[in-house]
Symmetry: C2
Subunit: 257 residues, 2 copies
DNA sequence: CCATCTTTGTGCACACGTTCACAAAGACAT
DNA sequence: ATGTCTTTGTGAACGTGTGCACAAAGATGG
């Protein structure tokens, strides 16, 4: 069943590996900084250091774009900025809508990184009628009833979802139906979308949990078998379904929210 | 030179593959939802669908944790919730500090996903003296001068950076010096940290650029060589640096905020 | 106790990503 | 020109992640 999520058999389009694409913005940022300081050229070594990657990887990444370097010298900064921008599609304008103007949505609307680089906040959308008209980051919030019209009128193809988890799938469906084909999802839910629609998710809670895993691992390695890493009694295996919740008290339901 | 970033030669600790670790929170979320609906068991197929992954992958992932399933039946929901929570280190309490209480920091402080799952916001820290004392999400903001004391007094090992890019490395250094060994970075900068410190980054602008890339690709494929995919004149190769700023307008500096 | 049916756990092959290490390209000085 | 020196671009080896496909485990019914 195609949840459409990560399995992108695509990428193979005679093209640039996904891992490389994910690093291009990083290079671009470093290059832009160099450009502002009027640095004319960089070596792969320098640029790699600035972008926090290995220089061999960087050179290989660039090799997918073509041969834009000069041996013995390095890369022309301005030229590379242009080439990467073009490759990423940043030389055109991308109208974006943000759906769900709570704390996070408002923060995103105010975030400068949006306005720059070809992304333009075309509209802010929220389900709360009370918010309609209220300007956030200088843009009036519109009611979700207008979603379809906004998307089609503005030719929006990228949508940002910052609603509560419960509303995300529904909003997603409407965005897709209206013509959006790329979604950036901040809601802690798995979105299912038809083929051809890209979803990327940003999930604070997942990132923290991954950090906690490594943190625990570090702690466990220092004091081997030492501290309170092994704790409270694990619940008995399977109580054969039945009345759920084992004999020895409750499994302290990890997740409240 | 060790930027410490992604190159974690670690993970090899006789342990769980990184890719699997990254999916565990996903499974956990799906399982928690099932648990709340009092579903006693799930098959790998069902759970995989709920988590948006392939069922073979899920089974392999679980096999790294041990054999927690029952053939012919599936997995005991409560038991798995417990095992994954434990593996991720969520059975203990993780005090977290958030540094940089702007729009985003405030949104994070208010985000429910924080409070749940063993993560506790121990303090909010900002450099603006005017904010000191102001409660955000019910927690008074403290001045950055107190950072070291806060970290050590509370035994904080996880820090969240939501400052402007310019301040991020400095804040990072102070956090690390004070004893933080895991950092979640929302600022659009590459952080360099010593070995043994984990950094994960969440970068809105990068995600958007990746989406734009695929979006452009899609548009280019429909109307092969058709539309305005190939546009304006590329800047001449090397202008030998000189007066910066290409012919076609400005390259609008990625990071304003 | 045996047969059947479901679902796990995993060996294997393949795809993708990373890194090394080096030949070839070119700049630059003499 | 010729030689030296720097730095790219990439072939090849390796490591990690994915997915198929199937044997083995166990539940369930007769």
């Amino acid at each position: 069943m195609a949840t459409g999520r990560t399995h992108r058999p695509a990428t193979r389009s005679r093209g640039i590996p996904e891992a490389t694409v994910a690093r291009l913005p990083l290079y671009l940022r470093a290059l832009t900084a160099l450009s502002e300081r009027s640095v004319p050229t960089v070596s792969s070594e320098e640029l790699a250091a600035a972008a926090g990657v290995n220089s061999a990887k960087l050179r290989k990444d660039f090799s997918y774009l073509g041969s834009y370097g000069t041996r013995g010298v390095g890369y022309d900064v301005e030229y590379l900025v242009y080439q990467i921008s073009r490759e990423l599609g940043l030389t055109q304008d991308w109208p974006v809508v943000i759906v769900g103007i709570g704390n996070l949505g408002a923060a995103l609307a105010n975030y400068g990184g949006f306005a720059s680089r070809g992304f333009r906040v075309a509209a802010l959308i929220d389900a709360d009628p009370a918010m309609a008209g209220t300007p956030v980051a200088g843009i009036p919030v519109q009611h979700v009833d207008e979603l379809e019209k906004i998307v089609s009128d503005n030719g929006v193809s990228i949508g940002v979802i910052s609603t509560p988890a419960g509303a995300a799938q529904q909003v997603c469906d409407r965005l897709v139906a209206a013509g959006v084909t790329s979604i950036l999802n901040f809601a802690p839910t798995v979105l299912s979308v038809p083929d051809g629609v890209d979803v990327r998710k940003v999930d604070l809670s997942i990132e923290l949990q991954i950090l906690a895993f490594h943190e625990q691992r570090k702690a466990g390695e220092e004091t081997v078998g030492g501290t309170g890493v092994d704790q409270a009694a694990p619940p008995v295996r399977a109580a054969t379904g039945s009345s759920r919740k084992g004999p020895d008290g409750d499994v302290p339901a990890v997740m409240p929210a």
